[in-house]
């Protein structure tokens, strides 16, 4: 075993409810391997989720876990982190949860650069509710609410995060789970708001409605839609056309929100308090 996963799982809640072939379990394992490598104390870790298939994640993890309302995970997480910055706060959110109803909280958390790690379990669909199109569903693909194909342009999670000010932005495929480990480990240790756009295949809804095949077919297809950002310089524009870069897309330093607020307290607090 790469690590003793069961150390971090609520064993009586396993096996999990995700569909056969769903990539969410792979991403969850990647998060656990990264936490194990970083040696974090379980009592200090808080995992916050929204609603959806990704929303079930915290229930399986033996940390302080919070399953919030749809799209609001980042708001709850901001309160937790702000009041007790010693806690390590990880937010897991789906593409609909983070990009649609939670879009506002997403961009503001990026802007604040609050030290929270957001892993977007991006399966390009609303899985839990039966396969409706989401803001990241590829144009032309089907969802139950887009039976003739989506005509809206989708969000690029990473571009939105970078544009809003997130200081660590990365994308990873669950096919390349080893690369995902590296990316998530860096995201977890980064000080500031980190966003990982983790692609996961929804075999039951997205895959079936769009006839993308089974889990491995979908994972291969995702791979063909992406390129490694580290090879970008050596690739021609035609090769990169219409494809998503994978890897650490941007990483920089900016004052972190909770620390800045602590400095503010130091500045204004009466010295005799």
């Amino acid at each position: 075993m790469a690590i003793d996963y069961f150390e971090y799982l609520r064993k009586d809640k396993m096996p999990h409810i995700w569909c056969p072939g769903c990539g969410h379990g792979t991403i969850m394992k990647s998060i656990l391997r990264s936490i194990d490598k970083l040696g974090w104390n379980k009592d200090d870790i808080v995992v916050v989720s929204g609603i959806g298939c990704s929303g079930r994640t915290p229930g399986y993890l033996d940390f302080n876990t919070l399953h919030t309302t749809h799209g609001r995970a980042l708001a709850f997480a901001s309160g937790i982190k702000m009041f007790n910055p010693k806690l390590k706060v990880i937010v897991v959110s789906g593409d609909g949860d983070a990009m649609a109803i939670g879009g506002n909280h997403f961009i503001h958390a990026c802007r604040r650069n609050i030290d929270i790690k957001l892993i977007v379990f991006n399966n390009n669909i609303y899985g839990m509710t039966g396969g409706q199109a989401s803001p990241t569903t590829f144009i032309g693909s089907r969802g139950t609410t887009a039976p003739y194909g989506v005509i809206e342009h989708p969000f690029d999670v990473c571009e939105l995060a970078a544009g809003s000010g997130a200081t660590f932005v990365a994308r990873a495929l669950d096919l390349d789970a080893v690369a995902m480990d590296r990316v998530i480990k860096k995201a977890l240790s980064h000080k500031g708001f980190s966003v990982v756009d983790a692609w996961s295949q929804c075999t039951t809804y997205f895959g079936r409605q769009n006839k993308w095949g089974d889990a491995s077919d979908m994972m291969d297809r995702y791979k063909s839609m992406t390129y490694n950002v580290r090879l970008a310089d050596k690739m021609s524009d035609e090769e990169k056309e219409g494809k998503f870069p994978v890897g650490i897309l941007s990483e920089n330093e900016r004052p972190e929100y909770c620390e800045e607020y602590e400095k503010l307290i130091e500045r204004v607090r009466p010295k005799d308090a």
Binding site: D4, K13, P15, W18, P20, G21, L175, D214, A215, S216
Partner: protein, 103 residues
Amino acid sequence: MPTTLEPYSGTMEEGIDVGSPRLKDIKKNKLAVSGHGKKVKKDLMITVIESHCKGNLCNICVHYCPEHVLGMGFRHVEVVDADACTKCMLCEIRCPDFAIFVD
């Protein structure tokens, strides 16, 4: 040449609920059978938690094993050619269900 394995007996220790045991419990109680959870060759143990594996509906580990070590059984994955295993760990790393582990 695949190693001849003991035939699948399909038994678990009586009364043990196959929830989600620690690895040492698997080894101790032989919860995964048929060549799983046993040393299949020197320095290699492939463990399958059968109640976690989603079988043919998933098929990720079988599909991606570069050495064709694994095969899909009736309800869960099985080790068919242990000798070929190079411990690349791709099956464990890509499995979403905490169903297969390589040591």
